[in-house]
């Protein structure tokens, strides 16, 4: 979720510290694994929130506005197909650019394989909210991947024209 091994390890340590500090608050109302996962996700979200430098609500973390490049509900202009261009590196870069809330739901569902009811419990939101955030996360990823493909095509064109110019 943080895209950096050292940072992930620090967060692992922080999550276990929180576990020891808060174990007395576990009331057995949910499975221990869910409680622990919620605690770990909260640690990561707090970190991501601090990184972004602003205090934001979960909604703000998952519902970026138009100016910040939130998901648009456009359904045309497939000028470039993604098929074949989605690889680990591209997708990881795109995931890193997702708002924290989207990232958390995407990683929990599509990477770790949790179901929406489990995510809803972990993230303390509704199942519908989890589904909706996942959909928006995927759509945003698609946009980011398209942008990456466009940038790459632009760079290739520039390189090709520079090469043609030098040959003249």
């Amino acid at each position: 979720m943080v895209g950096n091994t050292a940072e992930a390890e620090d967060l692992t340590q922080e999550a276990f510290l929180q576990l020891f500090r808060k174990i007395a608050t576990f009331r057995g109302e949910s499975a221990f694994s869910t409680w622990l996962h919620r605690l770990a996700v909260n640690v990561v979200l707090m970190k991501l929130r601090k990184k972004s430098g602003t205090e934001t609500s979960l909604d703000e973390m998952t519902e970026p506005d138009e100016e910040s490049g939130g998901p648009r509900r456009d359904f045309g202009t497939p000028d470039l197909r993604l098929s074949g261009s989605i690889d680990r590196v591209n997708l990881q870069r795109a995931v890193e650019q997702l708002p924290p809330g989207y990232k958390a739901v995407f990683v929990l569902h599509d990477v770790q394989g949790y179901e929406h009811n489990e995510i809803a419990e972990i993230m303390e939101c509704s199942i519908g909210n989890s589904k909706s955030q996942l959909h928006k996360a995927r759509m945003r990823l698609r946009e980011l991947l398209h942008e990456a493909v466009r940038d790459k095509a632009r760079e290739d064109r520039k390189a090709a024209s520079a090469e043609a110019g030098s040959e003249d």
């Binding site: 091994t5 992930a8 390890e9 692992t12 340590q13 276990f16 510290l17 020891f20 500090r21 174990i23 007395a24 608050t25 576990f26 009331r27 057995g28 509900r73 359904f75 045309g76 202009t77 497939p78 197909r81 993604l82 098929s83 989605i86 690889d87 680990r88 997708l91 995931v95 995407f106 599509d110 990477v111 770790q112 394989g113 589904k131 909706s132 996942l134 959909h135 928006k136 995927r138 759509m139 990823l141 698609r142 991947l145």
Partner: protein
């Protein structure tokens, strides 16, 4: 079959994504290359993401060392934990000790305490009732442990080094019990805290059983 617009398709997408599209959406997909491309892209993203799932990341040992150090600094764990002390006891003495005679009595007490501590929770009960309940359950065991500790002190002076070591271990277990009692007092309805307290008493009972046995052997 009636077809739908791209906007309708998008509006309903998150409700069936990951499953089979409804009939009208399927019909739309056959006729709309843009939406078909969208679905292919989303599927490709999911496929790539799910391939990351199989990777298990090994956490660096430094994390556990650092975590332990933090926990010790905060007083959440102690360097000489009771469990380790018990291991030392067993390593040094177990072979020489006959089966402790008092173990049966302690075990009976502990089982009674365990039953009392782990009774099903009643959500209607308030905090004061839980606290009183916890006290009632553990007081007899606590009193018994104190009495046994006093009687041990009266006859176990044969080896000052061993006695000092025993007392040190007892102090550690007592410290652990105090922490657990505090947790139960703060969260009387918390089953985990009650389990920890039970475990702490059990550790003290084990320790006292061995100390008593050793003391009797030295007489």
């Amino acid at each position: 079959m009636a077809t739908i617009t791209c906007k309708d398709f998008m509006d309903r997408l998150d409700s069936w994504m990951g499953g089979n599209p409804p009939g009208d959406a399927e019909a739309h997909l056959r006729n709309c290359s843009n939406c078909r491309s969208l679905i292919e892209d989303l599927k490709a993203i999911c496929t790539e993401a799910s391939s990351w799932r199989t990777e298990e990341v090994e956490v660096s040992p430094r994390i556990w060392t650092s975590l332990r150090s933090h926990l010790e600094q905060e007083g959440l764990i102690h360097e000489n934990r009771p469990a380790e002390s018990k291991t030392t006891w067993f390593a040094g003495w177990l072979a020489a000790l006959p089966r402790p005679a008092l173990a049966g009595a302690y075990l009976t007490l502990l089982i009674a305490a365990a039953f009392a501590l782990s009774r099903p929770m009643n959500k209607q009960s308030n905090q004061a009732l839980w606290l009183a309940d916890s006290r009632d359950s553990t007081l007899p065991l606590r009193a018994q442990l104190i009495a046994e500790q006093d009687s041990f002190a009266s006859f176990n002076n044969a080896n000052p080094v061993v006695t000092a070591s025993l007392n040190k271990n007892l102090a550690i277990v007592d410290n652990y019990i105090a922490l657990c009692e505090k947790s139960v007092q703060e969260e009387p309805q918390n089953e985990v805290a009650r389990d920890y307290l039970y475990e702490a008493y059990q550790q003290k009972a084990d320790l006292l059983a061995q100390m008593t046995e050793r003391g009797e052997n030295n007489r």
